[in-house]
């Protein structure tokens, strides 16, 4: 039931916000992109060709921010619960395990979305301060952010929770979740340096699509509404599929015994 999922989400959010160190590290991860781009923009003195690379970098960092915002809570909320042996008493409650997972997913998604929002605010500040001249198709950019980017934290949260259910301890989860951050990073970098490799269908592919649409919108291109919508829907659908798999993993005996 959604009520119970909300109870779980509320507890996870309260619990995670009290982990001040984790909150601070997530914050630094989120503003890492604006800081790096800000520093590089000072050295390029706003030259147009280099601004193009910077825009690509910004898009990559924004994708990464959606993945790092919820990373700490994702590893703590399942692998951490297993390690501290609090998952077993939690599973004794009359709550369907899929509802439990949805609650945790809502909380992780919120943190991931917060990471994304802080990153975007950071970029807005950097752009104003650096005097970079970007064409910027702002209405389309806003549309891409709202319809294409907003589902990304949902996907990141699902993927991270799935990995967290496979891991037995926070340390193990940390290793794999850090690797997962390379997924948007390497894909994004690849597309920045080999833009010709991006086929039209890549623009609706979760992750690649966000990177390409975001970059194009910042550079001033028009993005068809349908393209953004398809990208958003595919991202949400993939997030649900992965969440379902993660929920199913909670049904297994290994989750109790940690083998």
């Amino acid at each position: 039931m959604l009520n119970q999922s909300i109870v779980v989400a509320r507890k996870e959010i309260t619990d995670s916000l009290r982990d001040i160190r984790a909150v601070i590290s997530s914050f630094f991860y989120a503003i890492m992109g604006p800081l790096v781009v800000g520093l590089v923009s000072i050295s390029t003195h706003g030259s147009a060709s280099e601004a193009n690379v910077l825009v690509g970098m910004m898009a990559v960092f924004t994708l990464v921010a959606a993945f790092v915002g919820g990373m700490n809570i994702a590893m703590d909320t399942v692998a951490g619960e297993r390690e501290r042996r609090s998952l077993l008493p939690l599973l004794l409650n009359p709550i369907r395990r899929v509802d439990l997972m949805i609650g945790k997913w809502l909380a992780v998604s919120l943190f991931a979305a917060a990471g994304l929002a802080i990153n975007l605010l950071g970029f807005a500040v950097v752009l104003r301060g650096s005097g970079m001249h970007l064409a910027g198709n702002w209405p389309h950019l806003l549309r891409v952010l709202a319809l294409g980017m907003l589902p990304l934290p949902l996907l990141a949260a699902s993927l991270q929770l799935l990995i967290s259910t496979v891991c037995r301890a926070v340390k193990e989860a940390q290793t794999y979740l850090s690797l997962i951050v390379f997924l948007p990073m390497s894909l994004g970098m690849f597309l920045v340096f080999f833009p010709a490799s991006a086929r039209e269908w890549c623009r609706v592919l979760p992750l690649a699509g966000q990177q390409l649409q975001l970059e194009s919108a910042i550079k001033g291109s028009e993005i068809p509404l349908l393209q953004t919508l398809v990208l958003g829907c595919l991202t949400v659908a993939l997030a649900f599929v992965i969440l379902r798999v993660a929920g199913n993993r909670l049904q297994r005996d290994e989750i109790i015994y940690g083998n």
Binding site: K11, D15, R18, S86, P89, L92, N93
Partner: protein, 224 residues
């Protein structure tokens, strides 16, 4: 009342519980006794529903449980820990605060109720976990080696609490390998060895069945 019939559970090729049947009646404290690895915790986990048996049946009403580790949230206070579980148990919000206060005072946790549980002693953690288990007034209470790591005053207050709950008509099933504990507390003992039932009855019954004078000797005669 807990009724278990022909319960089986294997992990891979290893049969942990084999054709186990027993009852734990209402208004009694039943001890599940067995050596390390006899299948006590696995049985309790199946009764709780966190592990699915390979076959067999379990009949049980409303259940509260405290399994091997306290597993409480260190960044939440005692009250928040209890409230979270109360909400998940579906206790209506209006009654929940009163019930949490009642449990806190029953367990003598008043002075630390508003404190985050990080750094709590083993006894304080165990009491918080016990509070969580009895919060929704379950008819059946399952405890897996509840006295592990507790000091004498805490063990005594736990015993008193369990007797009080039994006198209220609740069914209490707890596992232990501490024979003194079982003798002091249990009305009925179920002895398992290698996942099988080897004896059932009051501590005195077991002694007379085996022709021994102490529960320890009876246990050795039954399981070794």
């Amino acid at each position: 009342m807990i009724q278990i019939q022909n319960l089986r559970k294997s992990f891979g090729h290893r049969a942990v519980v084999q054709d186990l049947s027993f009852n734990a009646p209402d208004g009694a404290i039943t001890g599940l006794l067995g050596a390390n690895g006899a299948g006590k915790s696995t049985t309790l986990r199946m009764i709780c529903g966190v592990l699915t048996p390979d076959s067999g049946s379990i009949q049980i009403g409303r259940l509260g449980a405290l399994l091997d580790h306290a597993g409480i949230y260190s960044r939440l206070t005692v009250r928040e820990n209890l409230t979270y579980f109360g909400e998940l148990q579906g206790i209506p919000r209006k009654q929940l605060d009163d019930r949490v206060d009642e449990v806190i005072s029953t367990l003598g946790l008043d002075s630390i109720a508003g404190t985050r549980t990080v750094g709590f002693s083993q006894g304080e953690r165990m009491k918080t976990a016990l509070g969580r288990a009895i919060l929704h007034s379950p008819q059946n209470l399952l405890l897996d080696e509840p006295t592990n790591g507790l000091d004498v005053p805490t063990i005594r207050s736990l015993r008193e609490l369990l007797r009080r709950l039994r006198d209220l008509g609740q069914c209490i099933l707890f596992s232990s390998h501490v024979l003194d504990e079982v003798r002091a507390l249990c009305d009925k003992v179920v002895v398992i060895s290698n996942g099988r039932l080897v004896a059932e009855g009051s501590p005195a019954d077991l002694c007379s069945q085996t022709g021994t004078s102490s529960l320890e000797e009876a246990f050795v005669a039954l399981t070794c």
